[in-house]
Each structure stands twice: as C-alpha cells, then as structure tokens.
C-alpha cells in the first residue's frame, strides 16, 4: 500500500485538539497525584500505626487494581452514586490522579528513606527544628534521589492517559482512531501517533536512565 502522509497534515487540527486533551489529563492527574501522594507519604512517616496501615492499604489497592477497571467504575458509578454530572475527562483524570498518588507516595518515601541516618541525626544533634531539618537537610538530598523514578513515572502516566479513550475522552489516541475509521487510513494515523508518543517518551526515558546512572556512580 502507499503511505499517504499528507492525510495526517490535512487533519492536524483534530490531532492537536486531542493532544491538548492529553496534556490536560496529564496535568490534572499530576497535580492530584503529587499533592495526595505527598500526603500519603507523610501518613506513612508519622510513626502512627493506624495512619501507616491506612496509607499502605490505599497504596496496595491502587497498585493492584487495573487502571482500566477503576476508570470505568469512576465513569459509570460515581455520577450515579453522587447524583451529579461529571465529564469523562474529569472522572478519568481524577482516577488517574488517585493511581498516580499511590505510586508517587512510594517514590517519595523511598527517596526520604535513602537519606543516610547520620544526616538526620546530625541535624537533630545540631538542634535544628523540624522545618530547617526538612528544608535544608533531608529534602534536598531526597529530591535528588527521587528525580529519576519521578521522570520514569511521568512517562507511565503519559501512556496511561490513553486509557481514557475507553470512556470516550477524545484524547490523542481516540482522535487518531476515529480519524482512521473515517478515512480508512488507520496505518497513517495510528503510526503517526505512535511516533508522537515515542518522540515524547523516549527522550524522557533516556534522561531518567542517565540520571539514575549518574546517581549510582556518586
């Protein structure tokens, strides 16, 4: 068959629209994921057993259940249970945000735990209060360790935004699929978006690996 790449350029406004929705979903999920993830991580570090158990159960639940199942449940059941109209974009993005929180909480915790005990003890011995201890001793070191897994998880989130096409959110993947169906040019559209995802995710994945490498050599 001939590869008619012009058809992609003829329909680019719809693809850009889809890409913009993908960006929105990513941003909503990321904002919720970072905030809630930090909260859940804090719950695990307070030393209270109840809070720790609660946070650990949240993490296990959202890491063991398929995202697709959660997205469908959120889309079909939340509006009925809470008697409100919510778009697929919002229920889907919030579901992805809840999943992201579970993964980020573990990344945050691993980063904080990796800071040598001696550093924390030194801070306490110097009489640093909680704020300067976290602000100047623990967090700068922990954040550096967190960056590679965070970049890596960001690529996972970006891939997971495509799941929203299952509930009819016209993000990049669904837009390309629909265009392919209308024009009978699946090869062009689906290959084009595969390349777009690759062009965004591959450099990030390389960056994450390189940072990790540098961290390991320190």
């Amino acid at each position: 068959m001939e590869f008619r790449y012009q058809i992609i350029f003829q329909n680019y406004p719809l693809l850009i629209e889809g890409f913009w929705i993908t960006v929105q979903v990513t941003l909503i999920a990321l904002t919720l994921g970072v905030t809630l993830g930090a909260l859940i991580c804090a719950m695990r570090l307070t030393g209270s057993r109840t809070l720790d158990r609660l946070a650990a159960s949240y993490i296990v639940f959202f890491r063991a259940t398929p995202e697709m199942v959660l997205i469908f449940w959120g889309y079909f059941c939340v509006p009925l249970i809470f008697q409100m109209k919510v778009s697929g974009l919002w229920t889907g993005s919030i579901t992805l945000g809840l999943v992201t929180a579970a993964y980020l909480a573990e990344i945050f915790r691993a980063g904080i735990k990796a800071v040598p005990v001696g550093e924390v003890e030194a801070a306490i011995a110097l009489g640093l209060k909680a704020f300067p201890k976290w602000r100047f001793v623990i967090l700068p070191q922990a954040l550096r360790l967190m960056i590679p897994p965070l970049v890596n998880y960001f690529t996972e989130l970006l891939k997971n935004t495509t799941l929203l096409s299952g509930i009819g959110v016209a993000e990049l993947a669904l837009q390309a699929y629909l265009l392919g169906g209308q024009t009978f040019r699946y090869v062009e559209f689906l290959s084009a978006i595969a390349l777009i995802y690759f062009a965004i995710i591959f450099p990030l994945s390389l960056l994450s690996r390189q940072l990790e490498h540098r961290e390991a050599r320190r």
């Binding site: 068959m1 259940t65 199942v69 059941c77 096409s165 290959s191 995710i201």
Partner: protein, 227 residues
C-alpha cells in the same frame, strides 16, 4: 449522595451474571500467563541476548524494537496491531490474536531490560572461562550464563506479573471477551452499571491482590535463598 443507590443494590443481577464475569476474568488470567511466558521469558531472553550481541546488525534492530515497544502506550500498540498491521502485512488477525501479539511484544520489551541487567550481573570471568575452554556459544549461554542470570532476574520478573495483569484490562479496547468487555456488555443489557462494574472491580482487585501478595512472598523466598 444518593443513598437509594445503596439500599436498592440488586444482588440477584450480580448472582446471575457472575459466571459471565468470571469467564471474562479468566481471559485476563490466561492473557497474563501467555504474556509472561511467551513475552517475558522466551522473547524477553532472546531480545536480551540479541541486545548484548557483538554484531551491530543484531544489536541495533533489537535495541530499536525494545525502545519502541517500551516508549509507546499499550493501547496504541493494540489498536495499531489490530487495524494497521493487517493492512501492512496482509495477515488477518482476530481481536484476541492482535491483543495477544501486542501484549507479548510489550512485555518482552520490558522484561528484556530486566534480563539484560541479569546477564550483565554474571561475572565477566564466567564468559571468559567458557570461551577459553572453547565452549560453543549455545553451550556457554545455556549451561553457564543463563543459569546464573536466572537467579538474579527471578525476583524482578515476578514483580512484572502484576503489571501484565493490569495491562490485560487495557486490551478490552479490542473486542476480546475480558472482564471489562463482559462488564460493559452486561451493564448496558441489564442497565445496572453500579452492580456490574463494582463486581468487576472487586473481582479484578482480588486477583490483583493475590498476584501482589503471592509475588511478594515468592520474591522474598528467592532473595533469601540467594543470600
């Protein structure tokens, strides 16, 4: 909040359609097993070996294959396999075949990285000793390198099973009768979305939890036996 939703919860409908949901769930479990064995273990090992080859003509294609399947979403891969691949190759595939193919390639790419790290973890002296003894390449790989690499890669490979199970639910975008597709069909037929989707979610979570807990126990045992 609408409390009647909870008080009017229809257990009869769940009971009636539970076998159909179980059947769907079984498809997910079969896909997980096939994806892990065919993709993760068999193709993953071949790709890992190819990726470490001395010959650029073998190394580069396998590198590109792995990176491409790792850096694109499974959902896009699945619809590409079902709608674009048959046009290019002239092969007609059923939705199940396309879904399985996409899953196997996706999993193989992830696992080949784990296996490659395992092979690199085998001391260099082992390769050198095998070569200096004049062992043929197949004997060196099958009798010397891979048995030692297996010990290193088993724990992280077990960790991928839960990701594979979660990924199988994505394949419902193609018309395969997995638990999500079954839930969609039953829910639009019975107009009882809350009952059906909640049951499907509980079933999927239960399997996910079993895989997580059993996997963690197994991983632990392998790590300890290694030490």
């Amino acid at each position: 909040m609408d409390w009647t939703v909870i008080t009017s919860f229809d257990f009869a409908v769940i009971w009636r359609y539970l076998p159909a949901l179980f059947k769907g769930l079984w498809t997910n479990i079969v896909l997980t097993g096939l994806g892990f064995v065919a993709g993760g273990i068999i193709l993953g090992t071949l790709l890992a070996i190819a990726n470490l080859s001395r010959f650029a003509l073998i190394r580069w294609p396998s590198f590109i294959f792995v990176e491409f399947w790792r850096a694109t979403p499974l959902l896009v891969q699945a619809i590409w396999m079902h709608f674009a691949f048959p046009v290019l190759s002239g092969l007609q595939t059923t939705p199940f075949q396309s879904a399985l193919l996409a899953l196997v390639f996706n999993v193989s790419a992830y696992c080949s990285e784990i296996i490659r790290a395992g092979i690199l973890g085998v001391p260099k002296g082992q390769f050198e000793a095998a070569r200096s003894l004049g062992l043929p390449a197949t004997v060196m790989w099958l009798k010397i390198v891979l048995p030692q690499a297996v010990k290193i890669v088993i724990p992280p490979l077990i960790g991928t099973i839960i990701s594979i199970f979660k990924a199988t639910a994505i394949l419902s975008v193609l018309a395969i009768n997995d638990v999500m597709r079954a839930a969609q069909r039953i829910s639009s037929y019975t107009i009882k979305p809350i009952e059906i989707y909640t049951t499907a979610a509980v079933l999927a979570f239960t399997v996910g939890l079993i895989i997580t807990v059993a996997g963690a126990k197994l991983e632990d045992r392998f790590r300890r036996s290694e030490a």
